[in-house]
Amino acid sequence: MSAQGAPAAQEDKAAQIPAAQEDKAAEIPAAQAGPVPPAKPLDARAVARDFPLLARSVHGKRIVYLDSAASSQRPCSVIDAMDSYYRTTHANVHRGVYEIAEEADRLYDAARVSAGRLVGSPSPRSEIVFTKNATEAMNLVVRSWGWKNLHAGDVVVLTEIEHHANLVPWLQLVEERGIRLRYLPVDLSTYELDISRLDEVLDGAKVLSCTLMSNVLGTIPPFQVIAGRAHEAGAVVIADGAQSVPHMPTDVQALGCDFLAFSAHKMLGPTGIGVLWGREALLEEMPPFMGGGGMILDVTLDGFVPAEIPRRFEAGTPPIAEAVGLLSAIEYLERLGMSEIWEHDQRLTSYALGTLQERFGDTIRIFGPTDEQSLDRRGAVISLALDGVHPHDLAQVLDQEAVCIRAGHHCAKPLMRRLGVGATARASFYCYNTEEDVDALAKALDEAVRLFR
């Protein structure tokens, strides 16, 4: 399938000009915005034409993809970049002296620089570690930094709205090391974190690890405030950016975090690659996460010397083609503009909240901030329940209408328990979703109501 005549993003084939890519990436100073600041609001209908999957139909109807919080779709430019890389450039990175191996090296490095630029890293060649996904990035911090620095009785502060990726690795450390966990509670009247409890939970804490955007509620915690207080309390601050980084400008310096995890497949890139950003001084002191090829300076039969950062944390052949795809995805996002994507998200979320509340009134429950004033504190994720229709049945009926939403616990079971439900239905939006998609959602929900009531 091709996207001929698409307005954006088709002109570059990343892998065809590796040298140029490298130069371009290297010239751009760290921590600046995208290369070409766009002047006008995002045109989601035009954006959607760049995404071949969105042109297909399901059950004879135009697909309405509302599950980007689980995984986004990707534009032709990303697919083409990876395809072209495999067709023209592939070789293993780091050790080759021949032309295509050097080209692969440059692309892999350009992806690192690009990922660093996206989140405002001052030295991406040291601070950006490629992982399998955001979950592995969180595990890397817990297993490496946590294993070295946390001991029995040490306190780690999490929140009640975390994804399992920011819960289970810590729970493992509870079992293995006897650390203690405290949780910043969520206020169910506002679906926001109860910041008034911050000092109490942070007292004596060694770590604070918190999401930048809830994948269930959409809630965006006041991270700068939280991080500031955590640092005052002497804690290391970890941010789970899996939901936020794809949707808004991110600056690790402004956020005040020490580590940030995110994933490529939620931001138009491929599956199989995630990113850990960490402060250079902290990464320097951390032991390897996994052992193997690529992460050593020297190995003898009696021991080994680990490589410098970030390669120390990248054992084995890394996801090279995926890095090329991520590079292309970041270029695409920066062309659209992260601020423009964020503004689009807010407009669409506002429209969706208005439409759903007007149409379903008291029979819909939305798990997340809903008033207009809270729009800058919530992302384009809408978890809901309709009276008399279980979320899984809802998702099943919506599928018949080609509307793709997710139903379940969204890997946040403790939060589900706090909400008092086993599952929610969740619609999430991205740069290619339109008001027509929201209307299709509302119409499909009508159909579910018709069947079940």
């Binding site: 008399g388 279980h390 979320p391 899984h392 049945d393 099943q396 009926v397 018949q400 139903a407 379940g408 616990h409 589900m416 086993g422 599952a423 069947l451 079940f452």
Partner: protein
Amino acid sequence: MNDIEDLYREIILDHYRSPRNRGELEVPPAIRVEGFNPLCGDEIVLYLIVEDGLVKDLKLSGQGCSISQSSASLMSAAVKGKTVGEVRKLVHDFKAMMSIHEAAIDGQAQAPTDFPGTGDLEAMGELAALQGVVKFPVRIKCATLSWNVLVQALDEAGAPG
């Protein structure tokens, strides 16, 4: 009838809206067994009393989607008062009705040879309404959850077929 209306037949929706045999029984004499479908968060809690080779009483609680809850309700109505042998036969037939697709999900090349097809569907009565589920493979585990819990309860009751 399209697939979705076939899935959500009126009998199923009726049992979902007005589930039969809801509640709890005192333990003991009842045996309490619970089951979960981690994919969906479906939850079934079964209280079972077997006496003199008969399913004397059973109650269900829990929460979940219309398929898991209606299947549990239909099951409770179908097995109450029956002999353990009859119940085990019914479990076998019900799982056979679902199993051709479960086999496909598990990657097995061959479906069980005793798949009843048109065979015993009539004997299953209202339970046959659940056959629309087989067109939606991910929902089969919702439909079979309560049945697996029942088998476990029968086993714990030491009630051989």
